[in-house]
Amino acid sequence: MLKPILDTQAVSLKTLNTQHIMLWVLAALLPGVFVYAWFISPLVFFNIALAAVLAVVFEALALYWRGQAIHGGVQDGSIVVAAVLLALAVPPLLPFWQLAVGVFIMVMLGKQVYGGLGNNPFNPAMVGYAALLVSFPQTMTLWSAPDLLNQLTLGHLLNAKLSLDLLNPNLLIDWDGITRATPLEHLRTLKMQGLSVDQNLAQQQFISSGWVWTNLAFLLGGLLLLYRRIIQWHIPASVILSFALCSLLFSAQNVPWYLSVFSGALMLGAFFIATDPVTAASSNRGRLVFGAGIGALCFIIREFGGYPEGFAFAVLLMNLCVPLIDHIDMHWGTSA
């Protein structure tokens, strides 16, 4: 007979388990996903479905190789959340096999090699994203312009997506005609040409591109998570504040800070990626430092780095610092 010390059954208390937490995160992503599909590209649904299915398959495979219980490992849903985040981070037109490579790297090198859930030092979705960005720089920066898509049917694009080479001339797609740089890339190009940006024009472009609305929708989902106490305020607040402060003080571009905060992947990252508890600092004080580091690094990469969006690298770099942050925090006392 089992002799439990703590009789959790005898106490009535509503608590969440890991699976519930992951389901809540997925639910909170929904508004952002729909706005993204509306403004940027409906292909994101295809990407999400593909990534999720592949992630579960790879996860099951890895668990089988590791001799672990497959059902127990997959059902917590954490890998589905990571897959959805990766699918949201990549451009919608990314060829399917490249996405598959990204998912494979995410599951295997981002998570399972370290021993599965709870043991990975880096955010798996961002590991997958970073691997894709350095491996396929051309397609990873190919963003379709939603208002120009009318010329082509969705089936046409899906067909292109399923082909092995996106830039194959046989596809008869004029890529220059239907793609456009994201506002961030646009700004970057202008800056590299030494041109200054008119503030009004930049604002218009930011708002019309739909990225602001997408970010607002992710913010809404993030607030839902905060309200449900799935995440704490420390990381999102410090990410956004430190990013806003940096762009307010140091930005050479003519974009007001309140717009740059709603650009790129900042809201998605601040509420859904940086808050991954496994790879974040463990105390509240540590989380503030962790978030502030991400915000600052993200700004530095956007402003001075080689990539238009630097959230993934900012998260990975701060993941590296987590053991140090935790260590210093512990020596300063343990007040949470």
Partner: protein
Amino acid sequence: MRVRNAWRKQFSAEKPRAPFSFHGGLKLDTSKRALTRFNSTGIKELPLPAKLVVPLIDYHKNNIEPLVNIQQTVSRGQIIAPGIISPAYGTVSVIEPCEFIHPGGLSVNSVVIDTHANNSENPPVSIPSAKAAQAMINSFAEQPIETLEQAALVGLGGAGFPTLHKIKSANNGIHTLIINAAECEPEIACDEALMLAEPEAIALGIETLVQLTQCQQCIIAIEDSKPLAQQQLSEAINTFDVNAAIMTIPTRYPTGAETTLIEVVTGKRLAYRNANSPTTKSQTTPSEHGIVCINIGTAHALWQMVERNQALDSRVVSLGGSNMRNPCNVRVRFGTPVNFVLSATDNTPDNAHTRIRAGGPLSGFDLHSLNAPITANTNCILAEAAFIETPAQPCIRCGQCADVCPVKLLPQQLHWYAQSEDHDKCAQLNLAACIECGCCDLVCPASIKLTETFRYAKSTARFLSEQNQKADEAEQRFKNREERLKQREADRKAAIEKRKQAVKSQDKKTNTDRIKAALERARTKQKSSKD
């Protein structure tokens, strides 16, 4: 008395202060509590069993030597081992290892007493008039505090710390006396039942404590879920003009734990001693801060001592849980086996799947044997359905455990280090301050058994530190011996040297003397020959 009265006026004129809050904790659902529905039945008196088993252990779970022999007749209240009294009149039949209430089902050397048939019944506590009571208390308080030793008073909250030790260890006096009437765990209702049944005895016990400790203020902390008990007690306090104020505190687990209750009542967190050194860091005791926290059941037992010189030999036990047929509160003589308690209340488990637990659902544990006897620590016996184990999933470091921890620890970090047996890191993270309330286990989304790991890590750390201490002592002994031997050798050498020197100098002296004498002789000879 006049000074005290003046102070009393000032005290009562003060508005009752609002309770402070504490970090974390949980609001548990107490609506399904079996005993709230049955509290109207009062406290049942249990008959005396034919055999009582008294474990010979002290608060630190160390064995103690008995002061009685086999076949010796013992009277009720007779001291049978240091700090332990016989709960009834009877004969010691055997002294042997018996099972006691322990999570590991261990046995400990125990005195088994065959009770005699003509044992006196437990008469109900008589309540004198206010004046007579005051006189009794005054004369009791004038005696030296050591007379309390006969009462064998220990805390009845669950830990069983000796009360006399608590009072005596407050070297700088006691300014705040906290009476703990907060039962935060669902299913435990023994204190509530006592407050409803005998509020006058409790009030008089509290007054005795106030006089004994000479405290500046006395606060009775009662949870807001027991309005009836609070009303009863407050009436009794007014009747006997007791120098105590009642504070209603919110029902939030674990307010009843000593450290959290002190924080709720005084707003003070017990500081750490040597906070900068991980190896010698430890939590200060309430007594060092002039605070003493005493359970309401202990106050009741003290009044029994004052009124009829009766030592603490019984307590109220709550019988609850989902599978308990007749939930009730019973007064049980110490040493009564659990199965006797269950059969006497018609609660013998009817199927093998029922688990019998000692202590509440959070602080308690499953019993290995129903022969284990009730002691002062047993506040509750639960009958629960078979246990379905949820397998633990990996920790995702969500931090909910840290949010609910009432002593502000980082349970997930502690769990990490406790699993890898890194005791230094655990000490650094204040593992010793863990009160084992189980809040972290309840909220953990991965159903990790954190408290169990901490209990194990704590006992391992204690064992290791004891070993280290022993090794240090042995090393010191060895060093001292080496030192002693060296000193002895040096002393011996010095003595030899000294003697040699002495001989040498003596020799020198005698030589010159001899030469002198010889010269003298020669001179005299010469002189005499010349002459």
